[in-house]
């Protein structure tokens, strides 16, 4: 079997596995977030955290809870990192410096997991497990909860009640993320991923050098890193490290874990709004964009020009030989299409077009299928914008799932859409305007530009991966990227919640032959088109000077 065939088989097998998960997992999440009664264990948790589970919140109340919870999380994690030296199980690592602590705290709370540090030489067991891993769970749960609220906004009638944040947070964490992550961790341990609490082991390499090998609770971290589309690796090499991702089949499991919830959530959406076809339409849009992107990355990496790539038949620089081009391309596409940002290869070494597609994937706002929750609400906002233009074209006040898309809805959808380009482009321009920042680029010219572009795209879209050559650990970038992550996460969340509030207040308009059907291929195609055109138009100038200039040389 040639490498190309192997790659195609790997991608096809992934598609089949995800298709098989779509219904059961989507239905399961639906039951978790819509269940009327509270289990005893849940009631116990509510009592401990002081949540009034019986009271539903309006959008503003929900937003306040999300923001308060996240603010406390950032402060807690920041303190944890700063005070590491005084805490047990630190493996002797010092407290983390203020810039990195701020950046890391924001990064993990925003589900970005941008890492301006090397995990194995910076964080001890306690920080990894109770600091970072906990955020891997709850930041993912926050994303799913917000998506569920938006869907409730579509489904509910003439109400301002959108659910209770604490109930959603607890249920999603306890009944969705924990069980799947546990199973995932066990499978990964079986595949050879390490799970221990050892001290740093000093080993002597074949060449006689000494090497410090850090062990730890890697498998448990790895499972939620992928499942929650977090991406923060235990080790700096992330999923390219053999302790995190030893074999081709653990690689398959990891990609599967990072895609399963984002792919299944449209089903949950379809169930809650009472029309499964709507879920299929959304997942179809995601699939079209994702498959095109995967094919493009795979194609560019396989057909790379240049002496060395042609000698080895593909662009193997920066890719693990145990994975090869196909598996690496799928991982890279999947990690940038979701907000994961875990890597099993060196994105900096991808071909210029291949790397360009990875940047474009993130620029889409990570909607195909996107981060857990974030992908669904991002895609629904794009659908709202599409519905508006399409709705006008059929001669009616636009409506989506029976809810009118009026001035207020358009204002919120537009604001949502504006946030990431605004953060990304102003951050990028400001960084270029300060000459000192140019030292962070490993390469000169277009590729250096792509490195910086990648960094801001990744942070603003809460991805977390990077073009590795880029020296991001400077006060400027730690601060600027931290701000991009923070605003890139929470401004859209606030707009989405407000949109949910405004939708839920409406009485639905019954569908008729004059209503734009939003489950047909025509609409699916139009959402794809609107997404492509809007994003391409926004970012073409910078893409032209980065990946395009490099690739068309």
């Amino acid at each position: 079997m040639s490498a190309t065939t192997a790659g195609i088989v790997f991608i096809a097998a992934m598609a089949v596995a995800l298709a098989a998960t779509y219904r059961p997992l989507g239905d399961y999440i639906y039951r978790v977030v819509t269940r009327e009664t509270h289990y005893r264990v849940e009631r116990g948790i509510y009592r401990v955290i002081g949540a009034r589970a019986g009271e539903e919140q309006n959008w503003a109340g929900y937003a306040k809870s999300v923001l308060a919870f996240s603010a406390v999380s950032v402060l807690f994690l920041y303190g944890f990192l700063r005070l590491q030296a005084f805490l047990p199980l630190s493996l002797g690592f010092a407290g983390v410096d203020p810039y990195v602590s701020w950046n890391t705290a924001v990064s993990f709370v925003t589900n970005t997991n941008w890492q301006a540090y090397s995990g194995e030489s910076t964080m001890g067991h306690l920080v990894q497990t109770t600091g970072l891993a906990v955020q891997n769970f709850v930041s993912a749960a926050v994303g799913i909860a917000v998506a569920v609220v938006l869907v409730r906004g579509f489904a509910r009638k003439a109400t301002d009640k959108l659910g209770n944040f604490w109930v959603d947070l607890v249920r999603i964490t306890v009944w969705v993320l924990l069980p799947i992550a546990t199973i995932g961790a066990i499978v990964l341990v079986a595949g050879g991923v390490v799970q221990n609490f050892t001290d740093v082991t000093q080993a002597v390499t074949a060449t006689g050098d000494t090497q410090s090998i850090t062990g730890g609770a890697v498998a448990s971290q790895e499972a939620i890193k992928e499942l929650g589309t977090n991406g923060g690796g235990f080790y700096n090499a992330n999923s390219a490290h053999p302790f995190e991702n030893p074999t081709s089949w653990t690689n398959f499991i990891e990609i599967y874990l990072l895609l399963m919830i984002p792919v299944a959530l449209p089903r949950t959406f379809g169930r809650i709004v009472g029309d499964n076809r709507q879920g299929y339409a959304i997942v179809a849009v995601m699939s079209v964009l994702a498959l095109a992107s995967i094919a493009a990355v795979f194609g560019f990496e396989s057909m790379a020009n240049g002496t060395v790539p042609q000698a080895v038949t593909a662009a193997m620089e920066g890719k693990e030989v145990r994975f090869g081009v196909g598996d690496s391309s799928l991982f890279a596409a999947a990690t940038t299409l979701t907000s994961t940002g875990a890597v099993n290869s060196f994105h900096d070494s991808f071909t210029s077009f291949g790397g360009g597609v990875l940047i474009l994937n993130m620029m889409f706002g990570e909607v195909a299928p996107g981060g857990v929750g974030g992908g669904l609400y991002g895609m629904l906002v794009l659908a709202v914008i599409t519905v508006f233009v399409a709705g006008l074209m059929v001669g009616r006040t636009p409506e989506y799932l029976g809810k009118k898309i009026g001035a207020r809805e358009m204002k919120l959808a537009s604001l949502y859409f504006l946030v990431t380009p605004a953060l990304l482009l102003t951050g990028l321009a400001a960084s270029f305007a300060l000459p000192v920042n140019l030292d962070s680029m490993q390469e000169a010219g277009p590729h250096g530009l792509s490195e910086m572009l990648y960094a801001f795209t990744s942070a603003s879209n809460n991805n977390g991966s990077a073009f590795g050559g880029f020296g991001a650990n400077t006060p400027w970038f730690n601060t600027a990227l931290g701000l991009c992550m923070l605003f890139g996460r929470f401004l859209p969340i606030v707009f989405v919640l407000a949109l949910a509030g405004s939708l839920a207040r409406q009485r639905p308009v019954p569908a008729s032959a004059g209503t734009l059907p939003t489950h047909r291929p025509l609409f699916v195609g139009m959402v794809v088109g609107v997404t492509l055109v809007l994003i391409a138009l926004t970012f073409l100038p910078v893409l032209a000077l980065g990946p395009l200039a490099e690739g068309l040389r």
Binding site: V389, V394, G395, A429
Partner: protein, 712 residues
């Protein structure tokens, strides 16, 4: 339906003669005032950009700089001219309306007591604008009615052509639903006392002038939402263009060997090119035409003799889910007509026809007339004059007896023929000692079941038993083409509900024949109201027509309430549209216009955004191929030079506004159909067309621009 003569000559729909552009020039220049421009954020940005390039062009003049500057100003002017042309069409109509508003002098009753029996009373001359609400004025033949009001005394024929364009005079009388008169109309015969109901300056005519001039135009909900989207896109493109600069400086610095040019130098992209790129990217096409589309939509209604009190109402018309239509006059011709004679066994059809005709000669109701006509058309019975039969005693139809007929003296024996409501006729037969054939009941039932009205015909000769001859089938005749119209509405997703005072059985039959989706039988005004509320509770938008005062609450409650011009002031006050032709079926056209308005906006937005793709392919390689020659691969149109590429894109961007003005004014083609079909068609034409057109257009313009010295 009335003739549709309009007040002003109708503006030609699509073709614009150059004269209109010339005429609109002064107004287009006036609209450059920033205080007016900022209301249209997209075009305001273009104006600022044009101002900026003017400064740059003066500072560092070149053919390129001036070409761009001139075309940027033209872009703004074209947008302003589009709006001015749309407004101009309304102004022409407003001017002719103003003529009706000449200095009328009102003859106010000296004693403000309308109970007069002759026009010979003392009056005081008062200028019309000084009339107050509640004043009584006397208007005699040949005089102009000084203000809107209701006739409280008298009856007169009134020429309303100044407002409605309808040349046939109408009757206005006190009491009932025909009492409303409008200021500016003329009394042709007789005299009336009018109670003024409008405050000065707020008459129907004033409102109409304001409406057609567009001076009271407010942005409609969808227009506001669309403006938000366009503003957001403008912000994104401003960001994309502005943030490009540090990146461009970095790139130019990296490839320092690349020569400086009018497009790009060591300071990055030049100001002229930045503005050009920005103007090409922001949605100028739809931004320029948005208000023209709205004004033209109102204008299209005015041309169909419908006055919408707000743009919001027009937009709501496009959203209508349920249409309430009165049966009488809208779906049916209004009068029941004889459509067949059904005999009982033993009676010949000719005999029944003859008896039916004779008994109806004295019945002057429309139904009675229709029986005579039917007998003539279907049985060749000559219409006999009531006077030509000797020894005949005519019994006229009255509401009490519910019968008409004749007693013929045939050589001493009296031959009595009666026609009327089945129950009365059967009663009459019994009272004359006859025994009605049981078949009669069957026939009556049959006719009722089919939605008709049965009339029985009976005769009684002296010495013989009275007998029923048969039944006349009176049918409510459904207007031609109604079923097709309703089918088209159904395809558009609009449900039609017929409202009628008939009993449910009759209503059902007519509903089935006319092809409406539902009916409301034995409807009282409050039932109508309840139906509207029910539909609205379910989230549906309701449209209805009405004319009577008892329709007013329902007209006010409906999302789209079209009052008939013949109706009462109360009805006209309550609705949000007035149909000057008083044609209830107009509602269907109003819905189409509302939809067309939204479709035009959506289509041009799509077109505008789709255009950007080609513009990028023109401008990005033009700017950056100097630094990275590989980017010339994006110059797929093979444009002559960077400068000509940018000029061509800007020129195309301006010309496309002119090219689309006719479409904006006329509205995109609209064939009723399902949403899917409409979307497919409009996406193909304006989406795909929007992608392809500029590639061709920019290339063609580039071929010309390249001929200018220094541009190739």
């Amino acid at each position: 339906m009335s003739s549709m003569a309009t007040v002003a000559p109708k503006a030609k729909g699509g073709l614009l003669d150059p004269g209109q552009w010339v005429k609109s020039a002064p107004s287009a220049l006036r609209k450059l005032d920033p205080r007016l421009m900022w209301r249209n954020p997209v075009m305001f940005i273009v104006e600022i950009g044009a101002l900026f390039t003017t400064v740059l062009a003066i500072g560092d003049p070149s053919v390129f700089a001036w070409l761009i500057t001139v075309w940027l100003w033209l872009t703004v002017l074209f947008a302003n001219a589009a709006e001015a042309i749309a407004e101009g069409r309304g102004k022409a109509q407003a001017d002719s309306l103003r003529k009706a508003k000449t200095d009328t002098v009102a003859r106010k009753l000296a004693k403000q007591d309308p109970d007069i029996t002759s026009p010979q009373v003392e009056t005081v001359d008062v200028p019309a604008p000084e009339l107050k609400r509640g004043d009584y004025v006397l208007v005699e033949a040949g005089q102009t009615i000084p203000g809107d009001g209701d006739v409280v005394t008298g009856i007169a024929s009134v020429d309303e052509s100044a407002i409605t364009g309808e040349s046939a005079p109408v009757i206005r009388e006190s009491g009932g639903d025909r009492c409303a008169v409008m200021g500016g109309t003329r009394v042709l015969s007789d005299w009336v006392v009018v109670k003024i109901t409008a405050e000065p300056g707020k008459s129907f005519l004033d409102r109409m002038i304001a409406l057609v001039e567009g001076s009271e135009r407010r942005k409609t909900p969808n227009e506001i939402a669309l403006n938000i989207l366009l503003s957001a896109m403008t912000i994104i493109f401003v960001l994309a263009v502005v943030t490009m600069q540090p990146v461009a400086v970095f790139s130019k610095d990296y490839m320092a060997a690349a020569p400086d040019s009018a497009v790009l130098d060591g300071n990055g992209v030049t100001g002229i090119v930045m503005v050009s790129l920005l103007v090409c990217l922001i949605p100028t096409t739809i931004g320029a035409l948005l208000s023209a589309i709205g004004i033209a939509g109102m204008d299209r209604l005015v041309q169909r003799n419908v006055l919408a009190m707000s743009g919001r109402a027009v937009e709501a018309a496009g959203d209508v889910d349920t249409l309430l239509l009165d049966k009488t006059g809208t779906i049916t011709y209004g009068n029941r007509r004889a459509s067949s004679f059904l005999t009982v066994p033993g009676v010949s059809a000719a005999h029944l026809a003859d008896a039916a005709q004779l008994s109806s000669l004295a019945d002057e109701t429309p139904e009675g007339r229709s029986i005579v006509v039917y007998a003539k058309e279907s049985y060749g019975l000559r219409e006999r004059d009531a006077g030509e039969l000797a020894h005949a005693e005519w019994i006229e139809f009255t509401a009490q007896t519910r019968m008409s007929g004749v007693d013929l003296d045939e050589h001493g024996t009296v031959h009595r023929i009666r026609k009327g409501a089945a129950a009365q006729v059967i009663e009459w037969v019994r009272s004359c000692g006859g025994d009605p054939n049981p078949r009669v009941d069957d026939l009556v039932d049959q006719v009722s079941r089919e939605g008709g009205t049965p009339l029985a015909v009976a005769e009684h000769r002296d010495g013989e038993a009275a007998r029923v001859l048969g039944v006349i089938y009176l049918k409510d005749v459904v207007k031609e083409g109604m079923a097709e119209r309703f089918a088209r509405l159904r395809a558009m997703g609009i449900r039609t509900v017929m409202v009628t005072g008939d009993n449910p059985r009759t209503a059902k039959a007519i509903a089935a024949e006319a092809g409406v989706d539902d009916f409301l039988a034995e409807a009282k005004p409050e039932d109508k109201m309840a139906l509207i509320k029910r539909e609205q509770e379910a989230g549906r938008m309701v449209a209805m027509t009405g004319d009577g005062t008892n329709d007013a609450p329902a007209l006010a409650a409906a999302d789209v309430g079209v009052a008939m011009n013949t109706g009462t002031s109360a009805a006209k006050e309550a609705g949000n549209m007035v149909d000057l032709d008083s044609d209830p079926t107009k509602l269907i056209e109003i819905v189409a216009i509302g939809k067309q308005l939204l479709m035009t906006r959506g289509a041009l937005t799509t077109f505008s955004i789709a255009n950007d793709i080609a513009k990028y392919f023109a401008i990005i390689p033009a700017i950056f191929a100097v630094i990275y020659p590989g980017l010339d691969a994006l110059n797929i149109m093979r444009l002559a030079s960077p400068e000509s590429a940018i000029v061509s894109a800007v020129v195309f961007n301006a010309l496309v506004i002119i090219a689309l003005v006719p479409l904006a004014l006329k509205g995109v083609g609209y064939k009723p159909g399902s949403a899917s079909a409409l979307l497919r068609r409009n996406l193909l034409v304006y989406g795909l067309g929007g992608i392809v057109t500029p590639f061709i257009g920019i290339k063609l313009i580039d071929l010309l621009v390249a001929l200018i010295p220094g541009m190739a």
